[in-house]
Symmetry: C2
Subunit: 397 residues, 2 copies
Amino acid sequence: MQISKRGLDIQASPIRKLKPFADAAMARGTHVYFINIGQPDIETPPAVWDAIKNFDERVLSYGPAQGFPEVRQSIADYFAEYGIALTADEIIITVGGSEAIHYAFSVVSDPGGEIIVFEPFYTNYNGFASFADVKLVPVTLRAEDGFRLPPQKEIESRITAKTRAILINSPSNPTGVVYSREETKRIVDLVKKHNLYLIADEVYKEFVYDGLSHTSVLEFEDILDRVIVVDSISKRFSCCGARIGALITRNPDIYQAALKFAQTRLCPPTVEQMGALAAYRMGKDYFEPVRKEYERRRDVLCSGLSDYPGIILHKPSGAFYVNVKLPVRNTEHFVQWMLTDFSLDDQTVMTAPSQGFYATPGKGLDEVRIAYVLKEEDLRKAIRVFIAGLEKYQSLF
Amino acid sequence: MQISKRGLDIQASPIRKLKPFADAAMARGTHVYFINIGQPDIETPPAVWDAIKNFDERVLSYGPAQGFPEVRQSIADYFAEYGIALTADEIIITVGGSEAIHYAFSVVSDPGGEIIVFEPFYTNYNGFASFADVKLVPVTLRAEDGFRLPPQKEIESRITAKTRAILINSPSNPTGVVYSREETKRIVDLVKKHNLYLIADEVYKEFVYDGLSHTSVLEFEDILDRVIVVDSISKRFSCCGARIGALITRNPDIYQAALKFAQTRLCPPTVEQMGALAAYRMGKDYFEPVRKEYERRRDVLCSGLSDYPGIILHKPSGAFYVNVKLPVRNTEHFVQWMLTDFSLDDQTVMTAPSQGFYATPGKGLDEVRIAYVLKEEDLRKAIRVFIAGLEKYQSLF
């Protein structure tokens, strides 16, 4: 009687594993600034709360496996604002973007297949790869290059007969990098040339700064049948706990296969779909002040960190993360030490060691991911405490 | 560029696939009695709605991967009312019972492993088996035997070196059978003897009639480390759309592995967990009038059908389904014909062909599952229309 290999091998959340040390710090009365996780402090829009509270039915019943038609239509309308034509029947509502990733992996690959991914990447791709028994084949990006895409040859060298798809995530968690149209086009060319699927996690599509704009893979008409896009309301509308996302594809065979996976779990949450409906119907204008707020925070964080000797940080233009190289040997030790041994004016800071965002063992040991999810004033305090901690740590180790 | 084998092989919902014919009937103005799916018409308790509407936070944020502690504690308290001692740390809140089934399969077995199941069974076990790439090995039950367990030898004959678990579901969907303590004990003995896990889907535990009581596998202290129980608020509290269930295990290794799967999808829905908290806190007394209502419906349905010549139906004591053998050759054709070609006073009936509840090809061809989820008056009308349709069909085919 054993636990399955996949149950043993699947990673524990590297983001959550240091949490007990943070809990202990708080129990000692230390204030902890949490800039380790992507939980925004932005208020969930009143329209979302109203939709949830005004849901008026007698029976909280099952909805369709693919989600309510009006919710799917609201997503199509939302993409139309970006000049992307979709129908409701090209959209499946999923339990968070998470489930869409799981379905995408499972539809494009059988157990043993390979998916190319650029590391550092969103750590839960690892979990879903284990769950779906597919292998993530990493192409390593470098802090020194600002985590931009490497030359085409380097990506192509990782493609094998087992490769089923390339997975991209722009704007990127954890690097904050926004791929240019040219970079996106390079990936589009690769999937065409090598006959692969393209999975694009675009959940941060509005989180783009410096006057840049996000290029969706849905804009490339010549690969429509190859594309699966992952969307989510979690970050965009500060609805992380709603667990509403979407899988978008114009390939009817992919759609039908994903729908069958969706049918096994009956339907996404009914009440929270009403919240999602209200959120998508707010349209893209809602996001403008939120975007400005994050851009300001990004500036505060980057200017607060970049002068420190030994820190390598190319100011990124998207999402709400930076992946920073620090002048320490092992950030897991450093992050833990900040929680167990350091405080300044009874305050400390929790960041996320970056090892968990790499698939290649030994990569990212000297990096942390920082999420700028606190309001400007708190962020400034957190940076001050962080820098003081880093100085102290360097003097000790 | 192909769809994965699992994406092609996974079954489309056999319950939902005839739905378009029902839609067409309704479009013609025919009233359709839906007794094909397990969507109760019982009102969701006001306490659940109040909890959802009174949820008062600024940010709809992530909760813990294993669910909120107070929700897990409310489930432990609920089981305590049945004399079963659990701690909150033996419970993971899942996205419906569905997700708990998926985790259970994935934790006890790697791809290629086998799980013994008694057919006919809840059809979505098939979907999760495909998703998790495990093989369901069916032991066939027979309508003529009232779908009781076969002799121990017959079950043991299906156990191989690849067998990882036995899956039981009592009260059963689709048969309505409630295993006696002796029957449950026989399964307990088998998993001990053959060193297997025992997965028990007990979501219908309160739906037990005729003065019987449900035996939980959690009552057998000698197999505590082998047991995974699937629970759900969907049917019990008429909260199907909430998507809140639970995986329960006292084996810490199973718990930790399941938790890692849970961490990949971050958390279950936050607002709907508040509804679940209110539901579990109502305690078992809430269910008594609901139980009586279903028992009455069961009596109405069984007495309405059992006199018809050629119908084989042993009145079952649980859940809200009966799996009935009809005097027709192919119930898929019959059920479709009822929707496309038959009506009585502009009314017809949709039932579920039972083939989808069997893993063995060719089984269940002359059976339908009927869910008594309509109020008594509607159920009586539905039976009258169903019998009239069956008579007509027999005269034609």
